[in-house]
Amino acid sequence: MPDWKQIVRKNLRVLGACSPEFTEELAAHLEDSYESLLREGLTAETAFRRTMRQIEGRRRDWLAIRFLQEALMTGFIPKVALPGLLTSAAACSLHWVLALGHIPPNVLWLVGGQLPLWWWCLLPICGALGALLSQRQGGSRLQRMAASLLPSAILCTLVLMIFVAGFTISGFVNHYQLVSVRLEALGIVPPGFGLIPAVFSLLGAGIAEVSTRKFRRLA
C-alpha cells in the first residue's frame, strides 16, 4: 500500500505552510480512491497511476492555490487582518518616530530618489510582531507570514493607487516633465515602500518563528 501522506507531502509541499489536517485529509481521499479502483478490478499499478492523476500537473497547481486560499481565509480577521493592521500601525509609527526624532529616515540615495534605510532596518521588529500576534490567535505559518506582510501590501497598494491617480492627472495636464518624474519615481517608491519592506518584515517573521521554536524546545 503506497504511503499517501508521504506522497501528498512530496507533491504538495506548499500544504506544509497550511494546516497539517489538509495533508491528512487529502491523503485519506487518495487512499479511498486507490482502494475503490482496486475493488473495480484494476491492477495496483494502473490504480496508482489513475489515483495520482488527481494531484498531478494543473490539478496539483489548482489544488495548491485553492488550499492556500482556504488556509488564509480561515479565521482571517483574528489571525491575519487584526495582527496585520497592528503591524501596519507599528510600521507607520516607527517611520513617524524616526522623522520626529530627527533621525533622517531617508539616507540612501538611489537614481535621484531617497529610500528609508533606517526604517527598513527596524521593520523586522514589526514583521516579528505581526507573526507573533497571529501565532497567539492560532494562525498557521501561512497566516503568520501574511500578517507580517500586510503593511507592505497595504503600502504597495496605496502607492500604486496614488501613481495611477497621478498618471491620470498628468494625462489631463499633458505635461511631459511631470510624466517623466512620475515614471522615474515609479521605479523607486514601490520597491522602497513595498517590496524591500516586505523582505525585511518577512525576515522578522522568520526570526520570530525560529526563536519561538527554540523557546518551545527549551521549555
Binding site: 491528512e24 487529502l26 485519506a28 481521499h29 479511498d32 488527481q54 494531484i55 486560499q69 482556504e70
Partner: protein
C-alpha cells in the same frame, strides 16, 4: 447524462452537499462518490473543488467536521450538518426552484 456547465455546478454544489449531509454524516470521499452516483455522473467533484467548499461551509458554521477512527483503524474527517446548516437548505432549495421556474418560463423547458 449531459454534462453541466461549471457555473451552475458551483452554485448547486453547496445545496447538493448540504442535502446529502442532512441524511447522515459523511467524509469527503463518500460525499464525492455519493453525489456522482446519485446524479449519474453529471455532478462530479475533484479534490480542488470539494475540500475548499467543505472548509468554506465549515467556516460558515453550516457543517462541522471531526476526525473519526473507522473500524479498520483509519482516521477520516467526517462532516455533519449543523442546525444552522439545516436552516439553509430550505432557502437554497427555494432559490433553485425560482431559478428553474424562471428558466422554464423563458425556454419552455419542462421537468421530466
Amino acid at each position: 447524462m449531459a454534462s453541466v456547465n461549471a457555473q451552475i455546478k458551483r452554485g448547486s454544489a453547496e445545496l447538493a452537499v448540504l442535502t446529502l449531509l442532512a441524511q447522515h454524516p459523511l467524509h469527503g470521499y463518500e460525499i464525492a462518490k455519493q453525489i456522482e452516483a446519485q446524479t449519474g455522473g453529471a455532478l462530479r467533484f475533484d479534490m480542488a473543488s470539494l475540500y475548499p467548499m467543505l472548509h468554506r461551509l465549515e467556516r460558515k458554521n453550516w457543517v462541522k467536521a471531526e476526525w473519526q477512527t473507522l473500524p479498520n483503524g483509519r482516521r477520516r474527517r467526517c462532516y455533519r450538518l449543523t442546525a444552522s446548516g439545516r436552516k439553509q437548505i430550505a432557502p437554497l432549495r427555494e432559490q433553485w426552484r425560482a431559478f428553474f421556474q424562471a428558466l422554464q418560463s423563458v425556454t419552455g423547458f419542462q421537468n421530466a
